[in-house]
C-alpha cells in the first residue's frame, strides 16, 4: 500500500520538477536559440566607407553577445542581393534603405518588418538626395540638365534613384524623357568616381548630416573626401530632394519573437551604453535608434509602386508599333 501511494507522489514530484525546468526552457530562453542556431545578417559589400565594414563587425560581436548565438554576415555586392536574401528568408535581418525595404515589402509583405531607424540629435529621421555636378561644370540647376547625361546609383537605391525621380515629376520634370541619357553607376562611390571621370554630366547620390540650409557633412562624397579619394571642392550640389526616411534595421517576422526583441533592445541601447563605439562606427554623434513600423515607410512604398507603374506604362507605349 505504501508503494502504491508513493508512485503518484513521486510522479507528481517529477512532473513539478520537470515543469520547473520545462517552464524555464519554455520562456523561450533556450527554445528560440535552438530554433535559430545562428543569426544571419545581410550586409552590402563594396560600400564606400570602411567604417561600414567596421560597423558590421561591431554589430556582429555585440549581437553575438546579446543573443548568445553566432552571428554570420552575408555580403552582397549590390542592393538586390540584400533584398532577395531577406525576401527569401536566407537571412534573419539586415540594414536596408527605405526603397529597398519597399521592394521587400512588395515581394513578401509583412514577413519582413522594420524595427529601428536612426533619429538625429535635432529630431530628424531622414536624409537627402543631392544632384551633383563637377565644380567646373556650366550646369547650375536641374533645368540646365535637359538633354544631359545623368548617372543614377542603382535601380533599388532610394536616394540615388527612386526618391529624386518622384520629386522631379512633382516639379514637372519627367525623368524618363528630360535627360539625354541615363545609366546606373552601381553604387554611391562608383557614381562619384564616374562623375569625376566625366562619364556623365551629373549624378544623384545620398547626402546627410544636415540640410540644404545648414549644409551637409555625411554621404559618399564626404566619406570619400575624408579618405583622400576626392576633394569636396571639386563638386557642386545643384539640387536636393528630401528628407527621405532613414534606412532601417529589418528582421524577418517569422523568426522567434525573443530574437526580434533582443535585436531591437540591444541595438537601441547601443548609443547610450557604448557612446564611443557608436561614434567609432560612424553613426552621427547625438543620434540614437528609434522604433518604427511599416507606416514610417508608407510614402516610399507608394512612390516605388507608382514609379514601377509609370515605367511599365512607358514600356507598353514603346512596345506599340508606330
Amino acid at each position: 500500500m505504501r508503494r502504491l501511494w508513493r508512485l503518484p507522489i513521486v510522479a507528481l514530484g517529477c512532473v513539478i520538477l520537470a515543469s520547473c525546468g520545462g517552464r524555464e526552457t519554455k520562456t523561450a530562453s533556450d527554445d528560440w536559440r535552438g530554433e535559430m542556431k545562428q543569426v544571419r545578417i545581410a550586409v552590402r559589400g563594396s560600400e564606400d566607407d570602411p567604417a561600414v565594414a567596421r560597423r558590421w563587425n561591431v554589430y556582429r560581436e555585440y549581437l553575438g553577445k546579446a543573443t548568445g548565438l553566432p552571428v554570420k554576415l552575408y555580403e552582397s555586392s549590390d542592393y538586390n542581393g540584400t533584398i532577395q536574401a531577406l525576401s527569401s528568408g536566407q537571412v534573419d535581418m539586415a540594414n536596408i534603405a527605405a526603397g529597398g525595404y519597399a521592394n521587400v515589402d512588395a515581394q513578401v509583405g509583412d514577413q519582413v518588418a522594420p524595427v529601428l531607424t536612426v533619429r538625429q540629435a535635432e529630431g530628424g529621421m531622414g536624409y537627402y538626395s543631392a544632384l551633383l555636378v563637377r565644380a567646373d561644370s556650366p550646369i547650375r540647376s536641374l533645368s540646365d540638365m535637359k538633354g544631359r547625361t545623368l548617372g543614377y546609383v542603382d535601380f533599388n537605391s532610394t536616394s540615388g534613384y527612386l526618391f529624386p525621380r518622384a520629386k522631379m515629376r512633382q516639379q514637372g520634370v519627367d525623368p524618363d524623357t528630360f535627360f539625354g541619357k541615363t545609366s546606373f553607376a552601381g553604387g554611391h562611390t562608383q557614381a562619384v568616381m564616374a562623375l569625376e571621370n566625366g562619364q556623365f554630366d551629373a549624378t544623384i547620390i545620398q547626402i546627410g548630416g544636415g540640410d540644404p540650409v545648414h549644409g551637409f557633412t555625411t554621404g559618399a562624397l564626404y566619406t570619400m573626401a575624408r579618405r583622400g579619394l576626392v576633394d569636396v571642392e571639386d563638386f557642386r550640389v545643384i539640387w536636393t530632394a528630401g528628407p527621405i526616411p532613414s534606412s532601417t534595421i529589418v528582421t524577418r517576422t517569422d523568426r522567434p519573437q525573443p530574437f526580434i526583441d533582443i535585436v531591437r533592445g540591444a541595438m537601441a541601447a547601443l548609443p547610450y551604453e557604448q557612446p564611443d563605439l557608436w561614434r567609432d562606427i560612424a553613426q552621427p554623434d547625438g543620434s540614437a535608434y528609434t522604433a518604427v513600423d511599416r507606416s514610417f515607410y508608407a510614402d516610399i512604398i507608394e512612390l516605388r509602386a507608382a514609379d514601377i507603374a509609370d515605367r511599365r506604362a512607358g514600356r507598353r507605349q514603346e512596345d506599340k508599333p508606330s
Binding site: C20, E24, I262, V263, R264, G265, Y272, G286, A291
Partner: protein
C-alpha cells in the same frame, strides 16, 4: 519519506513561481502582495501586463508600493524586478540597480549629449572651474539652447553659474565668439560639435584649437530601474519590448508611460541616467 517528497514538491512549486515571474512595482495607496492586475484595472494596465506576459513567456505581477522609496527598497531587496524611480529614490540603491529606460516627451528631443568647450589654451580642467566666466550657446533651437541649459542645470550649473550667457545665431557664430575671446566657454550639442569639428579632408580636425571640458547627457527625471544582476538577455528583451510599445501596443504604452505627461516613446538610457556624472 512522505515529508521529503512533499518538501520537494513545495520547493519545486516555489522555485517555479520564482523563475517564471517578473514583478513590477506600482505606486498605490497601500503596499501589498504581488498579484496580477485586478479585473477592474484600467484597460491600458491590463494590456501592458498581458503584453509583457506574452512576450516574455512568464507571469508578470503588479506589486503595490506606497512610494518610490519603497519601490527602490523592494527592488534592491529582490522583491520586485522593475520599478520607476526618481533621482532621490535611486540614490540609496544605485550600487545594485541601474536605469534602463526613460520616456521621451511628445515633440521633445531624446537625451542628446551636450559638450562644454573652451579654447585649448584655457586652464579649465572641469566644469566647476568655469564658474563666473562667460558662455555662448549655438542657437535658439531646443537642441541648441533649452537642452544644453537643462543639462547644465542637472550638473548644478543653473542660472548665475556663468557671469554672462549669450546666444549666437548658430554653432559657427558661437565658435567665432569663443575663438575671438568674446566668451570663455561654448555650450553645444554633440551633433553641432560634429558638424563644426569634422573636416572634409583625411585626418582633418577643425577644432584642434578647442578642447572639450565636459560631455554628458541631461539627467532623466524618472526612469525604469532594474537590478544590475538582471541577465543581459532579459534586460535587452525588456528594452526591445518597451521601445516599440508606442507603435505596437498604444494603450499599453499610454498606461506604462503615464509617469511622464504626454510621452512619445520609451527611450533607452545609460546606467548613469539618474545621477550627476561629473563636475
Amino acid at each position: 519519506m512522505r515529508r521529503l517528497v512533499l518538501a520537494l514538491v513545495a520547493v519545486g512549486l516555489a522555485s517555479n513561481a520564482e523563475a517564471a515571474t517578473l514583478k513590477i512595482a506600482a505606486i498605490g495607496e497601500v503596499s501589498g502582495p504581488c498579484a496580477p492586475p485586478a479585473a477592474e484595472a484600467p484597460a491600458g494596465e491590463k494590456a501592458y501586463f498581458t503584453l509583457l506576459q506574452e512576450r516574455l513567456g512568464r507571469d508578470v505581477l503588479k506589486c503595490p508600493v506606497v512610494d518610490r522609496v519603497e519601490a527602490a527598497r523592494a527592488l534592491a531587496d529582490g522583491k520586485v524586478d522593475l520599478a520607476v524611480l526618481d533621482q532621490a529614490a535611486f540614490e540609496p540603491v544605485k550600487l545594485t540597480t541601474r536605469p534602463i529606460l526613460t520616456v521621451r516627451p511628445k515633440g521633445g528631443l531624446h537625451r542628446i549629449p551636450i559638450l562644454v568647450m573652451t579654447k585649448a589654451s584655457k586652464a579649465a580642467p572641469n566644469l566647476a572651474s568655469l564658474k563666473g566666466t562667460t558662455a555662448v550657446f549655438g542657437g535658439q533651437s531646443a537642441a541648441a539652447l533649452a537642452m544644453p541649459r537643462r543639462t547644465l542645470a542637472d550638473q548644478g550649473l543653473g542660472p548665475g553659474f556663468f557671469a554672462h550667457e549669450s546666444v549666437a545665431a548658430d554653432t559657427d557664430a558661437a565658435a567665432k565668439e569663443l575663438r575671438a575671446g568674446a566668451a570663455d566657454a561654448m555650450v553645444i550639442n554633440a551633433s553641432a560639435w560634429q558638424r563644426l569639428c569634422r573636416g572634409d579632408k583625411p585626418g582633418e580636425d577643425r577644432c584642434r584649437d578647442l578642447k572639450t571640458v565636459w560631455r554628458g547627457r541631461p539627467r532623466a527625471p524618472l526612469a525604469v530601474v532594474i537590478r544590475r544582476d538582471m541577465p543581459d538577455e532579459l534586460r535587452f528583451r525588456l528594452i526591445g519590448i518597451h521601445v516599440a510599445m508606442h507603435v505596437e501596443a498604444k494603450p499599453a504604452f499610454a498606461w506604462a508611460s503615464s509617469w511622464i505627461a504626454g510621452g512619445a516613446e520609451f527611450e533607452p538610457t545609460e546606467a548613469e541616467a539618474l545621477t550627476v556624472t561629473s563636475r
